[in-house]
Subunit: 345 residues, 4 copies
Amino acid sequence: MRKRLRDFGIKIGNFPSGSKNLITDVNGVKVGNFTLIKDEPSIARTGLTLLTPHEKDIYDENIFASTFVINGFGKSIGTIQIEETGLLESPIVITTTLNVGKIADALISNIISEHNDLITFNPVILECNDGKLNDSRRRWLSEKELENALKNLSDTFELGAVGAGTGMVAFGFKSGIGSSSRIVERDGQKYTVGVLTVPNFGRRSDLMIKGVEVGKILEGKDEKPFGSIIIVVATDAPLIPKQLKRLCIRATHGLARTGAKSTNHSGDVVLAFSNAIKIPRKPSSTIEIKYIPDNLPIFQDLMDAVVEATEESILDALFTAEDMKGFNGNEYKALPVEEILNFLV
Amino acid sequence: MRKRLRDFGIKIGNFPSGSKNLITDVNGVKVGNFTLIKDEPSIARTGLTLLTPHEKDIYDENIFASTFVINGFGKSIGTIQIEETGLLESPIVITTTLNVGKIADALISNIISEHNDLITFNPVILECNDGKLNDSRRRWLSEKELENALKNLSDTFELGAVGAGTGMVAFGFKSGIGSSSRIVERDGQKYTVGVLTVPNFGRRSDLMIKGVEVGKILEGKDEKPFGSIIIVVATDAPLIPKQLKRLCIRATHGLARTGAKSTNHSGDVVLAFSNAIKIPRKPSSTIEIKYIPDNLPIFQDLMDAVVEATEESILDALFTAEDMKGFNGNEYKALPVEEILNFLV
Amino acid sequence: MRKRLRDFGIKIGNFPSGSKNLITDVNGVKVGNFTLIKDEPSIARTGLTLLTPHEKDIYDENIFASTFVINGFGKSIGTIQIEETGLLESPIVITTTLNVGKIADALISNIISEHNDLITFNPVILECNDGKLNDSRRRWLSEKELENALKNLSDTFELGAVGAGTGMVAFGFKSGIGSSSRIVERDGQKYTVGVLTVPNFGRRSDLMIKGVEVGKILEGKDEKPFGSIIIVVATDAPLIPKQLKRLCIRATHGLARTGAKSTNHSGDVVLAFSNAIKIPRKPSSTIEIKYIPDNLPIFQDLMDAVVEATEESILDALFTAEDMKGFNGNEYKALPVEEILNFLV
Amino acid sequence: MRKRLRDFGIKIGNFPSGSKNLITDVNGVKVGNFTLIKDEPSIARTGLTLLTPHEKDIYDENIFASTFVINGFGKSIGTIQIEETGLLESPIVITTTLNVGKIADALISNIISEHNDLITFNPVILECNDGKLNDSRRRWLSEKELENALKNLSDTFELGAVGAGTGMVAFGFKSGIGSSSRIVERDGQKYTVGVLTVPNFGRRSDLMIKGVEVGKILEGKDEKPFGSIIIVVATDAPLIPKQLKRLCIRATHGLARTGAKSTNHSGDVVLAFSNAIKIPRKPSSTIEIKYIPDNLPIFQDLMDAVVEATEESILDALFTAEDMKGFNGNEYKALPVEEILNFLV
């Protein structure tokens, strides 16, 4: 993992970030990566990223969530039920496109092994396509790999070409996982917004960093646009599903600031959750919740925070990922950060 | 107003109805009709129905709401903001298609007259087309007529060819306003669901009453399908917007049981609200609410209650409306209830 | 397979059905079932149903499609991309809930084996839960079982407790697969609408056949509502995606006529496609299409046909399925058709 | 009207613009403004902008259209029917929030006066709130004002503080109407994309021009965010409704590049139409259309063109509008273009 955006003194937006500047700054959120890099029997440059939204059993203690599809050329699994109920009952796994079936099954295996009576479960598997660097038709990832990611669950984690980010490419450069967080504070209330992204989209010429059209300055030419981005937004602010939808939509604004245009074959999917309120799967009575009404000024802060944390998270995926050679002899170079810094003042 | 369905001992569904079997059985809900019937300078058979969801100022004390469009050949106003915020800030007015502009403006006039600082307001005007019986191009209704409906606000109101129901036609018979309510009670909790409908759709041959294809038995022939239905669902059960959306969708099931097929030129729009929780327009802090989680069995009861109250409400609009002659010499007969009773065993 | 509804002279709706009264009356559509019934090492009462929408390679020659979620407590896979592009690029597979991951992967295996360059593919896997009769946690179905269904592809197929219908239960009775078709003809145009359903929902007391509340007449008591329904609508009428959405929604009306209320834990998902127009995956120019504008009267016929074919298809699943004992000693009886016939006139 | 962005040699994006760099570069599109500025009996700084999408009667010859709500704190009228049918049957009018009722009625008056048999019509009235500069509670605009805009219909029109733009404010500066167009050309095909915007949103500190955070450099402080943006996208490329939805969504990306964050009380509504294909209201048969499949590379160009034309259009509204004093003594200064130019290289 190379240096992060902030290590160069580059700041995006107005709010302070949390102590790690990671989605895990949202209390209770953990992330675990599994990375697979090998050359035999074929080229594997792949992995998966697992996120658990709180420290209890998410199947038994659901939380409010929402999704938004910016561009739906994607194969993500699990959004129908979230949209109906406003509830998340699954850990979130991000992996590569053709591997979603195997990983959905692996997650089902894991969850049913821990719930004897379970015969229905909504696995949430989000995906980007690592087929430029990975022999993705092999579908390398299954139960064992998921278990390894589970073992790696932690409130800190590496960025760049690890986990689901292993084989990702964005704007013609090697990409990976990015993450960022923001603290919003007002009238005695204080909340954290965290974002995790897997950018895997865009043409070189589209890349924009802090408004500078870096992609047009750097040498190189465009490939046909391809790929996707997954954006996960976490918060400990108590919000209801309709408000989380509003947060999801703001990820679009952050995405657009990196130069993204959400091309035809891109699966740009956002999932937002709040882990502030737990809804038991088997409730015994009405539930008392506190929530932030939309007209309270701090709700505006939360939406704004999503915009900037998304932008920074995407850029960090590019800043931190390193050169990679992979499938079919394809090679993607890391973003030439030193060169870029010249343009950024 | 003729006799209601229940006056003939006909019962729809399983739950008991409220004391009035009206949407106003939901505590705080009031309805006011204004009816215009005159022959000069042209034929007027029109009106409007106004509903206030609670007894406070709805602009200052919003409530959760949701809408669902079964078939969107309609001109209803105000759904965009409800879908964004999940909040209703307006009384609900139902009137005839070409009159929506004038009535939207009349409602704006009324609301701004009571709020000195207001420069934005989302009027909710729902509509069906009374153009078969009314010279609707005249757009008879404006501020004065809205004020008259306001004066008529009450927790009881007439059904049939009054208010927005004045010129309505359904299944080839004279229609009007219908309403019904249900009480759901479980584990010490007790809530009311109320429905108000303005059925103005369907071919004679489609009409089905308690499963009997009455429309095919009765003499007469089909006209070209035309028209719409507005369905308003009210409850005092504490529900959040996503749950109110689920209630909205169940109105489709009740509608379908009357034989409706939601034809091409039908604007079938549902709006549901809960007046249990009031969200101040200018909140000063987080808000504590109690709500019924989806997995609590009484939530299922609430959804089921919408199905049956919708069905009964639609049929009651037909049972209560009387013969009417109107524009262009058109005449629509009341449903021949006595004849139908023979088929209903 | 027991007798079908029509074998008893029961007719639903107004339009004539196609020669087989199956979804395969739509020219080009084929269906293949795989059924697994065994008692060792545990109880298997499961299967899958595969549908190919035309006789060419659907991955290379896409067709217009749309989906609609009546109630989204479901785990179906593949709807995001259909909703974005309006295109179906996959066969449609229906199976049991916990098996969706394995079958998604099996379908990916199958499709990539036939396309050397494919690294992205949107598998469409729809599901209902057969866990009342099947030890569904075992997830019995995988590549081999999918291949068997492929071998069975035909323009005729059995109904009842076969394929995805093997372990299904509806209204407290043994259910299975149902299908029905309608021919619409007007002004020299003639099209077919076909429907395939897998009903797996509802309380006994809700069942309604031709308007008769059969479920309340028959002995027996309600279980807790559970389960889902998948509805696939096929047509050879040339329609664009937005129109197919309108067809999808009409499946709700047909569903409601059987007494369904789309309960809280039901995944009621509709997918409609037209195989009249093929859109090449790699088009070389603009495409000339003929389509039926919404205001042409035959478009209304197509929507109406969906209502009645859906209703009949659901009832036929119940009529044709036979008694079954299964997991945990659970037994579900076939619908007592002879007894019911007494109530239907 | 002050100078436009291009007059200073500032270029946004990659595609050439049309000859006028206006939405009216799309053949057949006409725009007419009506501007009202007066101080008695109260302060009027308002107007309306009317757009006709082709030169025939839009009520009788509909076109494909779609809408997208980025943030729905808005009162626009007419989107329900467009979303159902994919068809536009109305001219598009943009005006101020509280005036939508009166203008909807004025448009109804106008359309019914030209169609003797019309009793249903879906007026499309989009809105932003000019209440900072205009005594908008007066609702100054009605039939006469609409007729004046109709008289002004032309394939050229002024930008800045005219028509619907008269009282608009964006990023703390005087705003107005903006417009821009792009030509896409590939493989012998050539199409135009035109955009018209009415920006009325945002905090000063958010403003970004070509990536430079101008708003943070310029003196002045933020007001509470308020207001909205209407974005109309026109094209002569033959696209079906689902594709126009995809174009709509790309307006978000262009919007975000100006620094917009779509704040809580913003009504950010996009409407896109193609005037390439005319669908008669009373069709007599199937319709033959040519359309651009999504996978043809020029479809990607069309989506990209929306991003850049939207961005430029918003900036042009700010560049062209002049200082204005208005209601309550409020004054909004024009964007200090000369000062800004210093930062833009």
